[in-house]
């Protein structure tokens, strides 16, 4: 009885260890997800560390007291830590994405002395990540508290929020809709193509088809074309549902849809090429699923689809921005939300074409119709 149980246990353990998909979810994904979360939200607090630049144009004990209040607030918070940097107002550069800049006006101390009003400017990009928005809003509470401590019931210091986004700001829903559209296209274009091709290889369908009077390229082209059609339909349905069912502010003019369709065609081709390249030598569906999951999750979290790039360290942003899905979604947002034309997004288009070319080259070198 015990011996049988032992053998069954050992066999079950072996079967788990031989199952690549299970190993992926058990031993890879948690560490991957933890790494992403740590990168995004830091290790010390829920929202990680936020750079806060302070420009003191008043340079009085009262303004210094306000700065000390800012320091205290962001050093004692368990939700959001702040790196406070003092800037010289005259030589300060424009506010970068992901940074909150607080400008204390000259006459700040006098306003407190005279019980008159003064406005502290809080500038940040409204399109930045969640932590930047939270940090900016902390100033509301912080300033109210400062007013109460310094001027009793009088509220001389008020806040003026300034959006530093140079283009039309995305709201959160627009950001999510466009990100999820590309995410859906990754599933249909990249993952489904890769797993589909490997499945046909595993079932020896390609081997059989290669004996029919069909060219292999025609068969592969049919796979790609069919998926391209599915991509288009899925993207169109998502946009319509997002616009009219979820009431997401999406100015869908025919011209914008036409531009978006052109971009979706290019982006879809890139994703399909990636799927074909990934499937090149894989002979088992289980392996293909693992490869697809790794690529899919990396792109999902690291290419501005669901988590803003502003959440990532400055040093890795250029690399993440070069990812095909980051280029795709950036151009898509520019066209769908900000009304750009597809031609004006030529940098993203060039990048997508380059990714497609690289993937096709990899496919050419590695692709096998069957395992034998």
């Amino acid at each position: 009885m015990l011996n049988g149980f032992r053998i069954l246990c050992v066999n079950e353990l072996l079967s788990i260890l031989r199952e690549k998909v299970a190993l992926f979810w058990i031993f890879f994904f948690p560490f991957f997800f933890l790494a992403i979360m740590l990168i995004s939200y830091g290790q010390e607090s829920v929202f990680g560390r936020q750079r806060i630049e302070v420009v003191d144009n008043d340079r009085t004990p009262v303004s210094q007291k306000y700065i000390d209040k800012v320091r205290d607030t962001f050093s004692s918070s368990s939700v959001l830590k702040g790196d406070i940097v003092l800037l010289d107002g005259a030589g300060a550069e424009p506010v970068r994405d992901g940074v909150v800049r607080v400008t204390i006006p000259s006459g700040f101390a006098r306003a407190f002395a005279d019980s008159t009003s003064t406005a502290i400017k809080v500038a940040y990009s409204f399109a930045s990540g969640l932590s930047t928005g939270v940090a900016a809003r902390v100033f509301t509470v912080l300033t109210t508290s400062f007013n109460a401590e310094t001027a009793n019931a009088v509220l001389p210091a008020k806040l003026e929020f300034v959006n530093t986004t140079r283009t039309l700001a995305l709201d959160h829903l627009q950001y999510l809709l466009t990100g999820i559209l590309v995410m859906g296209m990754m599933t249909a274009g990249m993952n489904n193509t890769c797993v589909g091709i490997v499945s046909q290889r595993e079932r020896n369908t390609f081997k059989l088809m290669s004996c029919f009077p069909l060219t292999p390229v025609a068969y592969l082209a049919s796979i790609v074309t069919a998926r391209m059609i599915v991509l288009f339909v899925a993207a169109f349905v998502l946009l319509i549902v997002g616009r009219y069912a979820y009431n997401i502010a999406l100015p869908l003019s025919p011209l914008q849809l036409l531009n978006a369709a052109a971009l979706i065609l290019v982006g879809g081709v890139t994703l399909l090429c990636m799927g074909i390249a990934m499937s090149g030598r894989i002979s088992r569906v289980a392996t293909a699923i693992v490869v697809c999951n790794v690529v899919y999750l990396t792109l999902l979290f690291a290419s501005d689809l669901t988590m803003p790039l502003s959440s990532y360290p400055e040093s890795v942003k250029p690399f993440l921005m070069a990812l095909p899905t980051a280029q795709f979604v950036t151009a898509l947002r520019a066209i769908l939300i900000q009304g750009s034309t597809v031609v004006s997004q030529w940098k993203s288009l060039v990048s997508l074409f380059a990714w497609s070319a690289v993937c096709l080259m990899v496919s050419r070198m590695t692709f096998r119709w069957h395992s034998a």
């Binding site: 079932r203 020896n204 369908t205 004996c211």
Partner: protein, 337 residues
């Protein structure tokens, strides 16, 4: 099988100048071998003897094969490049499925579309109209084999390559399929086979053992030469009696073939006098059943399926004597059909 060997044009249907393919256990080799047009050739041998490897190599499906061969006068490599040539080919592969998600009527439409013609006779004889509304994925093994056979035969190709065509088929459908293939009199058929019915269609049999052609010739001729014309199946009460009889036969009677089937049964094949002498080697009271008859192609397949080098791999089968020890047997390299 009544394939029209006398009508074949001067050019053979299949010519193998040389074929070499290394597997992890042995090397498959065939040299200077050809098949006339209209012939039906059956490759037989134990599992893993190289039958499928040879067929796959001829179809250009093995990258690791070193092959110089022509099919219907065209180099093997040309068949990979030219889809027009592949219109003349019908193929049934092992463990190869149609594209995922199709219904049978869509498979039929696919065939009609890519070959331009679909034989109604093949369609109906294989019973595909009854399967039209079924999903290919949900077919039973036999039903799926019928669909795959339809795809290989329905355009009545000049060259047909079938890897175990009757696997999973019931006796009735197997017979119908055999009739269909025999009806394609001008087609040349190459097949890997394991059943008596499959072998009965062949006018040439190639016995492979670990990748090497051990015998090649007409199945009936080989049956008589390898087994003799007569067989005796004897059933005894106990295993020890069967063991003793097997030992006695080996020493005294010198039959051409002795086969253990189960613990207490033996099949002895050879000349009539030898076979008739076997019962005298055992006490009549030990005999449960005794059956004389002519050797069959099933006996021949049984013989060819049991390699002498790996007897322990087949439980319940007594080790065979080395082939050189068998009477009236000489090793043949290649006997052109």
């Amino acid at each position: 099988m009544s394939h029209h060997l006398d009508e074949s044009p001067s050019e053979p249907a299949v010519e193998i100048d040389s074929l070499r393919l290394s597997t992890d256990r042995f090397t498959v080799r065939m040299n200077g071998w050809s098949v006339p047009r209209g012939a039906c050739v059956a490759f037989v041998g134990h599992n893993g003897s190289g039958k499928t490897s040879i067929l796959d190599s001829l179809l250009g499906l093995r990258r690791d094969a070193e092959i110089k061969a022509r099919l219907l006068g065209q180099d093997v490599a040309a068949w990979r490049r030219r889809s027009d040539l592949r219109r003349r080919l019908g193929v049934l592969l092992q463990r190869a499925a149609m594209p995922y998600g199709l219904y049978v009527h869509e498979v039929i439409a696919l065939h009609r579309n890519i070959y331009g013609r679909t034989s109604q006779r093949v369609l109906e004889n294989l019973g595909l109209p009854d399967l039209r509304r079924k999903s290919y994925e949900h077919l039973s093994r036999g039903e799926r084999q019928r669909v795959d056979l339809f795809f290989a035969l329905a355009h009545e190709p000049e060259l047909i390559v079938l890897d175990e065509p009757f696997t999973g088929l019931d006796q009735r459908v197997a017979q119908v399929t055999a009739d269909l293939i025999e009806g394609l009199g001008n087609s040349t058929v190459l097949m890997a086979c394991h059943s008596e019915l499959e072998l009965s269609m062949a006018d040439t049999m190639v016995w492979l053992e670990y990748g090497t052609v051990r015998e090649c010739g007409n199945p009936d001729v080989l049956r008589r030469r390898l087994l003799g014309d007569f067989r005796l199946e004897i059933s005894l009460h106990r295993e020890s009696q069967a063991n003793a009889l097997a030992a006695a036969i080996g020493e005294l009677a010198k039959p051409q073939f002795v086969q253990r089937r189960g613990n207490t049964d033996l099949v002895v094949a050879g000349e009539e006098a030898v076979v008739r002498a076997v019962p005298s080697l055992v006490a009549p009271a030990d005999i449960v059943a005794l059956q004389y008859g002519r050797t069959t192609l099933a006996d021949l397949l049984y013989r060819c399926a049991h390699s002498e080098a790996l007897p322990e791999a087949v439980p319940g089968i007594a080790p065979l004597p080395p082939i050189s020890a068998l009477p009236n047997m000489t090793r043949m390299k290649t006997d052109h059909a």
